[in-house]
Structure formats: structure tokens, C-alpha cells
């Protein structure tokens, strides 16, 4: 059991998402940074889809009701347990009664707390993720509040402390800049409805992430990108990552809590292997889009799988070395 003591902003229980109900209009939800959630689960020996807590703002404080292993991944945070500092991307053991205090977030936008065995809220429509729009899943279908108790299936097996190289170091792209997140996108259905100069504007701009950005979508600010002629489309199926251009010419990236359909013209779609980078981009920060081919988008997913395989192998090896001793 975990007791929430204090929370800022909409923290929620999330697994990788709800994928089988999309045709009925039920969005995926799921961790905005799926890589961080997977890594946290891998180092704890969990199923990668085990539910964790997504923490978008600090301070955040909770108490462990029993001994259990846990991990913090995702955003760079200043965190303490029982008064002792926890390095970034770290797995460790909490004792019953220990208070975890996440005091500040120095880089990234979402921290993930995973626990051995996962957060054991009921599975609803195939997932433990909180669906904000439908108000189901997670804990009572809503963000966490002080006083909430989260059930855990945690085993009390003691495992040693271990750090993981943060994914943005391992998966850094060669063109990465400190003040800008660059994400790869494939062009989408209405790309050709924009003239060459406008297309160029879309690629060359450094887009500002406005405060109207959240789990539903990121609203960006920059030069107006408008189609050659106004486009009126019927609502049609869209997926997280789709970049729409509403009439004001300011792009919207649909995220995990997006609706399953929309009518705005689509200029491009963030590839799945880079969606976590958007999830970790901060309000007020900057985004740039890099055009990529469909084949390269698939190759990027293979690269992600290879990274996770390598991590699993590394964890197994280190555990074996430690047990040998």
C-alpha cells in the first residue's frame, strides 16, 4: 500500500495504455513517456505494462505502507527517501513508513514511480491507465489526491540499489540541442494541401510549447501555418502523435488522452519511437520537427526494441553477478 501525502498537478496511475477499445472511441491513455515506465518496470523485474504513477509536477510526497522495491525514472527530479537523496533513474528499496519526497523537477516534464509488482488498481477495459475524459481506470478514474491509498502487489524481496543511464543519454540523437526537443515525424494526409513555403516554415520553425499543453495534446506557438485553401473535413480517426493544423495555423500535437477522432487537417505525425520525447518536453520549451520516412520510423521502433533488450540483458547480468557473491 502507498499513501499519497501531497500532490501538485494531475498525477495519475498509468500503464502502457488501453489499445483494444479504440474502435469504440476509447482513447489509449497510458504513460506519456512509455520508455521511462518500461525501464522502471524492467529494473524491478515487473511486466513492462505494470502500472506506475505519472508525476507531472512537484512537490509530490508519499508514504510506503510496507517494505518494497521501487524505481524513479523519467524527468530529472530532486528526490529524497527517509531524508536520503536519490540519484536520477534509480531503483532502491523502501521500508514500511518511509516517506518519498520529490521536491523539484530540474529537467523533463514527467517523473515515473514504479513499484515491485506494480500498482494494483483494477483493470478496466484491458488497462489500469487513468482515462481522464471517461473518468475510469486508474484510481477511481481521476488524478491522485492527498489521502489516497494505492494498492500494491509488491513482493518484499530485497533487491540492491541500481541506477540506469537516463534514456535521453542512451537514445540521444546526434542533432540534439540543449534547449530544443527534436522529434521525427512522417508527413500526414493533408501535407500536400500546404504550399512549399508553408511546408518549409513548418520544418524550419522552433515551436514554443504553450501552457495549454497537457496529456490531451500540446498546443504550439509559432508562425501561422495555413493551407492553400481552408480545409473542412469530417471527423475521422486520429492517433496520438498526429499534428493537426486548426484554422489559426498553430499546430496541435495529439497526445495520450486525445480523442480518437478529429476533423482538423493533419500535416504530420510524430513517430511512435519519439513520442516519449514530446512527453518529456516542458511547457515553455521548444520543439522542432524533423521529417523522416516511414521505413525509418519503423527502423526507429526496432532501435527502441533493441535498446530495451539490451537493458534487460544488462539487468540480468548485474543481478547474476550480485547473487554470485
Amino acid at each position: 500500500m502507498i499513501e499519497i501525502l501531497s500532490v501538485t498537478g494531475p498525477a495519475s496511475v498509468q500503464d502502457l495504455g488501453r489499445f483494444d477499445q479504440y474502435r469504440f472511441g476509447v482513447g489509449t491513455s497510458g504513460a506519456m513517456d512509455d520508455v521511462a515506465l518500461r525501464v522502471g518496470n524492467i529494473v524491478l523485474g515487473n511486466d513492462e505494462n505494470a502500472a506506475g504513477i505519472e508525476i507531472p509536477m512537484t512537490p509530490f510526497k508519499l508514504r510506503f505502507g510496507r517494505d518494497m522495491a521501487f524505481a524513479l525514472t523519467g524527468a530529472g527530479v530532486e528526490a529524497e527517501i527517509a531524508g536520503r537523496a536519490i540519484p536520477p533513474w534509480w531503483r532502491l528499496h523502501a521500508r514500511a513508513g518511509d516517506i518519498l519526497n520529490i521536491k523539484a523537477m530540474s529537467c523533463g516534464a514527467r517523473s515515473y514511480l514504479t513499484v515491485s509488482g506494480g500498482i494494483d488498481v483494477p483493470v478496466v477495459l484491458g488497462s489500469r491507465s487513468t482515462q481522464f475524459r471517461g473518468e475510469f481506470g486508474g484510481l477511481h478514474g481521476r488524478p491522485l489526491l492527498p489521502g489516497d491509498s494505492l494498492p500494491c502487489t509488491a513482493s518484499t524481496t530485497t533487491i540492491g540499489e541500481l541506477g540506469i543511464e537516463p534514456a535521453d543519454i542512451t537514445l540521444a540523437r546526434s542533432n540534439a540541442a540543449a534547449d530544443e526537443t527534436i522529434v521525427r515525424v512522417v508527413i500526414a494526409g493533408e501535407y500536400d494541401a500546404f504550399d512549399a513555403a508553408t511546408q518549409e516554415l513548418f520544418w524550419s520553425s522552433s515551436w514554443k510549447i504553450t501552457p495549454q499543453s497537457n496529456r490531451y495534446g500540446y498546443r504550439l506557438q509559432g508562425p501561422a501555418v495555413k493551407p492553400k485553401a481552408p480545409i473542412e473535413k469530417r471527423s475521422h480517426g486520429i492517433v496520438p502523435g498526429v499534428i493537426q493544423i486548426p484554422p489559426n495555423g498553430q499546430p496541435i500535437i495529439q497526445m495520450r488522452d486525445a480523442q480518437t477522432s478529429g476533423g482538423y487537417p493533419k500535416i504530420a505525425t510524430v513517430i511512435r519511437a519519439d513520442l516519449w520525447r514530446v512527453g518529456q518536453a516542458r511547457l515553455g520549451g521548444r520543439l522542432r520537427f524533423e521529417q523522416t520516412a516511414y521505413a525509418d520510423a519503423l527502423a526507429a521502433e526496432d532501435g527502441m526494441s533493441a535498446y530495451l533488450d539490451r537493458l534487460r540483458t544488462n539487468v540480468r547480468l548485474v543481478e547474476e553477478i550480485r547473487t554470485c557473491r
Binding site: P87, L317, C324
Partner: protein, 144 residues
């Protein structure tokens, strides 16, 4: 390529002769770790452990317990885990050993004051490599 028992014996002899404490071999689907028993070697060849300092020195050493590359600071942090003169508790992290995608913490065996961080960032360390020298507090008991 499977490792035969004769290979293991040969590797053990090489370790013994070369004064290396441990070796770890990692290949897809295979990992091997050999650790030389320290006391046995001491008896066989009484080489004084220079890194441990003079015999009268009561300082304790935080040592690596796995092979990899030493990091004095977390890559996301500017400040190293510990600096000379700093008071630390037993179990405090004094540095990391990077092994592939993972960081294994090196912890202080006793509470005390950091005398020196011996290892340099990026250096290859192995099982038993001294990382930091700590002057223990008089009343403290080493945890190992």
C-alpha cells in the same frame, strides 16, 4: 563459443599470475565471472597493498564491487557524489560504476570524512578497486 572448464582454469591461472582481482566476460547468452580469493593471494605473494596507505592509517576504503567504468558524478549532475572533507554516513554513495546501461553504486563502508576520491572518472575499475578513502568516525562501526 562455449567456455570449457579448461579455459576457466587457464583464466584463473592468468589472473593469479597477473595480480588481477577479478574478470568478467560477457557475450550474448553467456557470462563468466572469476574472482581471486584475496587472502590466498596475500599468502602466496606478500605484496603490500600500496593503495591502502601506510599501516598506521585507520582509514577505510570504499571499493568497487563490480567491473566497469568509474563515474564520480551522475551524468545529469554537475557535482560529484562526494568531495574531500565531506562528512558522510555509512552506506552513502561515493560514486558509480557504469556497466553497459547500468550504474552500480559504490557505497561508503563506514560513516566518516572523505579523505580522497582515489579513482578518476572514466577509469576502468574492477572488483575490489579502491574508490574513496574515508576517515571513519571514532564511534562508528563499519557495516561490512
Amino acid at each position: 563459443m562455449p567456455i570449457e572448464m579448461t579455459d576457466v582454469e587457464r583464466l584463473a591461472q592468468i589472473l593469479e599470475r597477473s595480480g588481477v582481482d577479478a574478470i568478467e566476460i560477457e557475450e550474448p547468452g553467456l557470462s563468466l565471472k572469476l574472482v581471486v580469493e584475496k587472502s590466498a593471494r596475500m599468502a602466496a605473494s606478500p605484496t603490500p597493498a600500496a593503495a591502502a596507505g601506510p599501516a598506521t592509517d585507520h582509514s577505510v576504503l570504499a571499493k568497487a564491487n563490480v567491473a566497469g567504468h568509474f563515474l564520480a558524478a551522475h551524468p545529469w549532475r554537475d557535482k560529484p557524489f562526494v568531495a574531500p572533507g565531506q562528512r558522510i554516513e555509512a552506506g552513502a554513495i561515493v560514486g558509480l560504476v557504469k556497466i553497459g546501461l547500468l550504474y552500480a553504486p559504490i557505497v561508503a563502508p563506514a560513516a566518516g570524512t572523505v579523505d580522497a576520491v582515489i579513482a578518476e572518472t572514466g577509469a576502468t575499475v574492477g572488483y575490489g578497486t579502491p574508490i574513496a578513502r574515508i576517515r571513519p568516525l571514532a564511534e562508528s562501526n563499519p557495516i561490512n
